[in-house]
């Protein structure tokens, strides 16, 4: 007797359909699993056997062959348990075979027959909807997450025997409700821009970065508050749209992060500088998303940028240019989303002391700066300073007139709205996404700023790429100020954030 059950294999942060075919016939009792299973999948034979028996169901003493189709794709992880068990029950007519067609199943079994939560359920639900399934059965704890996908009925099931009841029609739970945090507008009050004393320059630069989606570099001594500032960037970015939130949730679900509810906050990732290239952009034998993907739609913070390995920083080239990571595995290419704002930080010089006490020679300094160069710097639009704040400012009452994250966010949202309208149908969402050609088309300069720009290019050794970056930032500054055209003062400010000419007088 043959039964077919649909399940999904997680691949990167997406999923593809896998048909579990179970054939049970007379012969020497055996349980064979084919279709390129990895260890965890192969071990599912033992879990399925125990779970079926412990639920009071029958495990046939027959020759059982399970095939995971398509047979040429490697299968990994414990998520196939449920489909194999249900296929077995169908093939032995313990559940009605005709009911199985409309369901997709995904879940891990425990020996007791309980269905355990798994990673990546959101990706599975998206895959199931795309494949045209009307019903999805998942572990009960994952049901709220899977239900975030509209257009497919998700039911959560806690044990294998309950599942059998459901397939028999003896039990019909209502469809699961999407798990959305109760108060999505409740931003974390604990980290607010208003907590940061001083640092007006960095705050301004970060609000420009947020408004235009620009990558930024913060320069300042250790302990001045670079991390504290970067941590507050997600809070001044506009709240993610539902689609963006779904993307974030999908990534985090596939990586086993998050709590299974819709992500209403933008992610903030701050990997340590010892991270490998693979850790940063993803990869591995079974490709896992890297930090840049985990920061998708949020902020990736690279503290002590010169300390990162060259390979790791260079690997960021593709994600920064294209907003996605491609990983080659054999004949297949996996794609991870990777659209994050990168905030990097470094010291002024290797000794990290204030300028007055600096003991670095130019050779030290230029060596340090050389470590900074590379593809990442080409994508950094803004450089700002973070200074040691005098103690007197730190002990103030703190109420002051410092802008809160919500206030900054409102300005950012207005600027973003202007950009969305201007960039409609160009493929870019914000100024930071514009390439050189689009920048020049979208940021025409009127007379006064043109003269400024010419003077600047003459004197400041501005490269072509640097020119585009200045234009992009100037456009964002103008958006923040509500200027229709880029004005001279916007351009001036943008010029001062530029990164070009760092080595102008270097030996």
């Amino acid at each position: 007797m043959l039964a077919c059950v649909a399940t999904f294999a997680l691949e990167g942060v997406a999923s593809h359909e896998v048909t579990v075919e179970v054939d049970v016939r007379r012969g020497l009792a055996a349980f064979t699993l084919v279709g390129l299973p990895d260890r965890a999948v192969r071990e599912s034979r033992e879990r399925v056997r125990a779970a079926v028996l412990n639920c009071g169901l029958e495990f046939p003493q027959k020759r059982i062959t399970v095939n995971l189709a398509p047979a040429h794709v490697r299968k990994a992880g414990p998520g196939f348990d449920l489909a194999i068990a249900v296929g077995l029950l169908g093939a032995t007519e313990q559940v009605p075979g005709e009911a199985l067609g409309r369901y997709a199943l995904y879940g891990e079994l425990s020996l007791s027959g309980a269905i355990k939560p798994v990673r990546g359920v959101l990706a599975v639900a998206l895959g199931a909807r795309r494949a045209g399934f009307s019903d999805l059965l998942v572990p009960e704890q994952n049901a709220g997450e899977a239900a975030l996908v509209e257009g497919i009925e998700v039911r959560g099931v806690s044990t294998l025997d309950r599942l059998a009841d459901l397939l028999h029609g003896r039990w019909s739970p209502g469809p699961a409700l999407p798990k959305v945090p109760e108060a999505p507008d409740e931003r974390s009050e604990d980290i607010d821009m208003a907590d940061v004393h001083g640092q007006e320059d960095a705050k301004r630069a970060l609000s420009i970065a947020a408004a235009g989606g620009h990558n930024a570099l913060m320069i300042g001594p250790p302990g001045a508050g670079k991390t504290m500032l970067a941590r507050r960037l997600p809070g001044i970015l506009p709240a993610p749209s539902f689609e963006e939130a779904l993307e974030v949730t999908q990534v985090h679900s596939a990586a086993g992060l998050g709590n299974g509810s819709l992500a209403t906050r933008r992610p903030f990732r701050a990997p340590h500088h010892t991270i490998s290239a693979q850790g940063l952009v993803g990869g591995g034998n079974r490709p896992q998303p890297g930090e840049i993907t985990l920061a998708h739609r949020g902020v990736l913070f690279l503290d002590e940028l010169p300390e990162f390995s060259r390979a790791a920083v260079d690997a960021l080239r593709q994600p920064l240019e294209e907003g996605r990571v491609e990983i080659m595995r054999g004949q297949r290419t996996l794609e991870f989303p990777a659209n994050a704002i990168v905030i990097a930080a470094c010291n002024r010089c290797p000794c990290a002391r204030p300028a007055e006490n600096c003991s670095c020679t130019q050779l030290d300094a230029s060596r340090y700066r050389r470590r900074l160069s590379g593809p990442l710097l080409d994508r950094i639009d803004l450089v700002c300073q973070v200074d040691q704040v005098p103690h007197i400012e730190l002990v103030g009452d703190g109420s002051g007139e410092r802008a809160t994250s919500a206030e900054v966010r409102a300005g950012v949202a207005r600027a973003r709205e202007l950009q969305r309208r201007r960039l409609d149908r160009t493929g870019a969402l914000c100024n930071g996404d514009m390439d050189g050609r689009l920048t020049r088309a979208m940021v025409p300069l009127v007379a006064a700023p043109t003269a400024r720009m010419l003077a600047a290019r003459e004197r400041l050794d501005l490269s072509g790429r640097g020119h585009d970056r200045v234009l992009r930032v100037a456009r964002t500054i103008a958006d923040l100020a509500g200027h229709g055209e880029v004005e001279a003062v916007d351009l001036d400010e943008a010029l001062s954030y530029r990164l070009d000419g760092l080595d102008l007088v270097a030996a």
Binding site: E200, C349, T361, E493, V505, A507
Partner: protein
Amino acid sequence: MSPDRKRFACDACLRRAALIARLAPRIVALLDRPRPRLHGLLALEEGELLAAVAGDRAEALRSELRRFDAGAERERLACAGVAGICRHDPDFPALLLDLDDPPAMLFVRGRLETLDRLREEPAVAIVGTRSPTPYVTEVAYSLGRGLGAARVPVVSGLALGIDATAHRGCLDGRGLAVAVLPGGPDVVYPRRHRALYERVRENGVVLSELPPGARPYRWSFPARNRIMAGLARMTVVVEATDPSGSLITTDFARDLGRSVAAVPGRVTSRFARGTNGLLKDGAVPITGTEDVLDELFGAGARRSPRAAGQPPEPSDPVLARVLEAVERSGSVAMIAEAAALSTAEARAAIARLEAGGYLVRRGLEGWERALGAPILPGP
């Protein structure tokens, strides 16, 4: 003198240069530390030189010298695009003859007609450390540029750090740059200065006492320093610790009775120990191009075009306030506070000042007031 005038290199001088090149690997061992001087080695006659240096190879070299073919050597120079000028040539820089051990030959690449200027105008050697602090880099650049613009030839050694910066400044000021190399005139040392070498060759001269193809040796650096000191009326040390190659150059300059000058450094800094030591010993303190020009030509006799126009204070009061604030602190936040502006406004003002040449970007550290107004592009 026309550029195509036949230059005169006598057989004896050519032969002597060839001999020194042959002996070059053996001279190394005869140096002492910490300030390797050549102790008149290069002043010796051929026979004495062979006896002092050649050791067991003396006889072989002697017979090689006897067979020396000056014609073939001249052809080789012509092929390499190098002009050979011997000390008997009227083009040979007369100042070099003050040395006890003037080079027999100068091998020169570049614009030969500028050698005239080297004789007519007093040249200044700018030397200093290979790993300067950012502050003195700016000083070296500004000195090179100011002197270049004042038509004072700037002599240096194409080395890393101060040397290269002085060359760049001089070239940017459209001045006459003279690079004295430790190896042959076609051997770029350090190699990473290839582009700078080409710039100097196109706009000035590159010269050496060693024939083309000779690699630099440890002894040839101090030997090169004596040529720099000899060519210049004045040697300016921008930053040097002690001991340092720059101090070797000033020793030569002193022995020749030429002026020695130094840029004052921080008294606590070990990087400035050499220059501050020179000042204590009576070197001329240099705080800008004018100090050099005053020392060379007498007070106020010649001005650098840039110095003539110290940048007028910006007329915009906001810019003036910001400029003043920048001189006190490189931090945007503090500049903004001092000028009573928002950081955004302060940054806009800084960019305008930078574009106007009042400020220069100081690496990752913010901005500094530029030393003097930039030179307008010349004819």
